[in-house]
């Protein structure tokens, strides 16, 4: 067995072990820490699958921002929960769940092992159309140009999620700001961390967005980093979550999907059909759309973590 194969096998065993401990840990903080470790190991697997863009997204959003959100939620839920709520399921339910789990895993394993050889692929079409977009990174081309409608709908889903999270709050508090992300008196070390890291992080985030046109990166990954920087600033209490009826906030949230939609609707006038970009102008238009997507994602993710409005709207 070659070194690389041994590495892959070791990684697979490690991932399954960490996933098992994630499921088995009773305490929520321990389970979330296990999940973040699992997400980081998964990013390495994505690198082994030659998908660096996905590895970046998984590390940033899949385990990073999700981990922050679940840890904050776990802290809120620490008020004593009724004993029956935390009681593990009975033995028959566990047995049936295990049977179902084994069946589902076996079915998917069968699919994996019986995949047609070679699997159907769109790589050739992507290569042929890549030159027309002027981009070097095929993933960015797929996201913003070949499957642009899917990405537009994904941005709208993010916007709907923010509206849903805001709607969960009580009616009488609509319009006020969400609860603060950090403790009332932040640690000196946290403030130092924020002052040292955030300016650099903003630079890194914008760089990853810009470089995503030709190399692994893009608006989602860069946006996640910018979102993390804003969350660090809010956790260190150097800035507070904005009121949800603030006009600048709503403009930033809507800017990404709106610019994307307008670019798509301008397609028939400019290049012949919905979401077509004129030849020769494709790259500037794509980067223009991506810049607004970056802004939207950087503002949407922290708002999703901050939660529903909480306070007095007339203040």
């Amino acid at each position: 067995m070659s070194v690389l194969q041994a590495l892959d096998l070791g990684l697979a065993i490690l991932i399954l072990a960490v996933a098992c401990t994630t499921i088995a840990t009773r305490e929520i903080f321990g389970a979330v820490v296990n999940y973040v470790a699992y997400g980081l190991l998964l990013s390495i697997v994505w690198i082994r699958l030659y998908a660096p863009d996905v590895a970046l997204t998984e590390a940033a959003i899949g385990c990073g921002v999700t981990g922050v959100m679940l840890v904050t939620a776990g802290a809120h839920l620490r008020r004593p929960v009724h004993a029956r709520d935390a009681e593990p399921s009975s033995l028959p339910v566990r047995f049936l769940a295990a049977v179902l789990a084994v069946l589902a895993a076996a079915a998917i394993a069968a699919v994996v092992l019986l995949l047609p050889e070679p699997p159907p692929s769109l790589a050739l079409e992507a290569r042929q159309s890549l030159a027309a977009t002027g981009l070097g990174n095929p993933i960015t081309a797929v996201l913003i140009s070949f499957r642009s409608f899917d990405t537009l709908l994904e941005k709208v889903v993010l916007l709907l999620a923010v509206v849903a999270v805001w709607s969960v709050g009580p009616d009488r508090q609509w319009g006020s700001a969400p609860e603060s992300l950090g403790k009332p008196r932040p640690d000196g070390a946290l403030i130092f961390f924020e002052q040292a890291l955030v300016p650099l992080g903003i630079l890194v985030g914008v760089h990853i967005f810009w470089v995503g046109a030709d190399e692994p990166g893009g608006a989602f990954q860069g946006g996640a980093i910018l979102a993390a920087m804003w969350m660090i600033v809010m956790t260190a209490r150097q800035a507070e979550p904005p009121r949800i009826d603030a006009r600048w906030l709503r403009l930033c949230l809507v800017a990404g999907p709106a610019v994307f939609l307008i670019a798509g609707l301008a397609g028939p006038g400019m290049a012949g059909s919905f979401f077509a970009y004129p030849a020769g102008f494709a790259k500037p238009i794509i980067l223009f759309i991506e810049a607004f997507m970056l802004l939207s994602i950087a503002v949407t993710l922290p708002m999703l973590v901050a939660g529903p409005p909480h306070g007095n709207p007339s203040e």
Binding site: D187, A189, L190, F192, F193, A196, L197, L200
Partner: protein, 97 residues
């Protein structure tokens, strides 16, 4: 010349792995949260430093070398800050008990 650089890379990365291993042993064997925290931060930072040192001869351009060193620097800053915050939280928990 390149084989000497390869040996240097292997030795440095090996030293880094040894330090990471030592840190993990400390995590499992030390009696107290504070001692584990101390061991982890020191061992992991040195381990990463050795790994970065071992990777430096293999980069394609000086800019990549600067990026690796910047990564090491960022990990040190975030590691130090979080270790400090965890230590404060542990002290607070001890004082409350």
């Amino acid at each position: 010349m390149s084989s000497a650089l390869d040996v240097f890379s292997a030795a440095a990365i090996g030293a880094g792995v040894f330090f990471f291993f030592a840190g993990t042993v400390a995590l499992l064997r030390f009696p107290d949260s504070l001692t584990r925290l101390h061991a982890l931060t020191k061992a992991d930072n040195i381990g990463l430093g050795f790994v970065v040192l071992g990777l430096l001869p293999r980069v394609d351009s000086p800019l990549d070398a600067l990026r690796l060193i910047a990564i090491w620097f960022l990990v040190q800053v975030s590691g130090a800050s979080t270790a400090q915050m965890i230590g404060t939280a542990l002290r607070r928990k001890e004082a409350a008990e």
